[in-house]
Symmetry: C2
Subunit: 119 residues, 2 copies
């Protein structure tokens, strides 16, 4: 077949409550990734074209829950389930990234509280 | 700062022994990802430039252990710890993907035994 046209990585790393870096998956159940997967299916997007993939720590925890879409290398921060339809419809289908959720390059890998606990 | 220059996703999904699709992480300890991370550090590559990231199932299990490097979208199959230095030195540092390990597009998302058990 071919590479994925878009490969969506959703951070499912869990940190203890109150961790200084925050946590992308406070409940620990990876629900955001499951919802992305379900919504892609609802939009009729086959798994061999676009994949919503679980990821370990993406290392932008303070901005989480974080999602990165490749090969575009578009980073989204503070993503909730309510944002998924817009990301799929505007970005994945329409090719227009959702500006209001984008983490600017100036904030990527630029956090002050990094600790060595990332998994 | 900036986006990662290269973001390496290493499948750490574990399936039961004897699963028809095989498994990228038979021991379940995610050792390949840890070794990538350690080797990047040994090569003096900072975490904010290149990241060796745990990934959930990348869905190319029959070709595993699988690794995908973005934004290049270069897929590697049957990767072992013995291949890590070459991937880092040739591809990550030198910009020349390791041809002998590349999964051709014709094999990606083209397996016969896909089952719904991917996580």
């Amino acid at each position: 077949m071919a590479k994925f046209e878009r490969h969506i990585f959703i951070c499912t790393n869990q940190r203890p409550e109150g961790h200084p870096r925050g946590c992308c998956n406070q409940s620990g159940d990876g629900d955001l990734q499951r919802q992305f997967k379900m919504k892609l299916a609802q939009h009729g997007i086959a798994g061999s074209t676009v994949r919503a993939n679980k990821a370990g720590c993406l290392d932008q925890c303070e901005l989480g829950p974080t999602v990165v879409v490749y090969p575009d290398a578009v980073w989204y921060g503070h993503v909730t389930a309510a944002d998924i339809d817009e990301i799929i419809e505007s970005h994945i289908i329409g090719g227009r990234p959702v500006e209001r959720l984008i983490i600017p390059d100036s904030l990527l890998n630029n956090t002050q509280q990094k600790v060595s606990a990332d998994k």
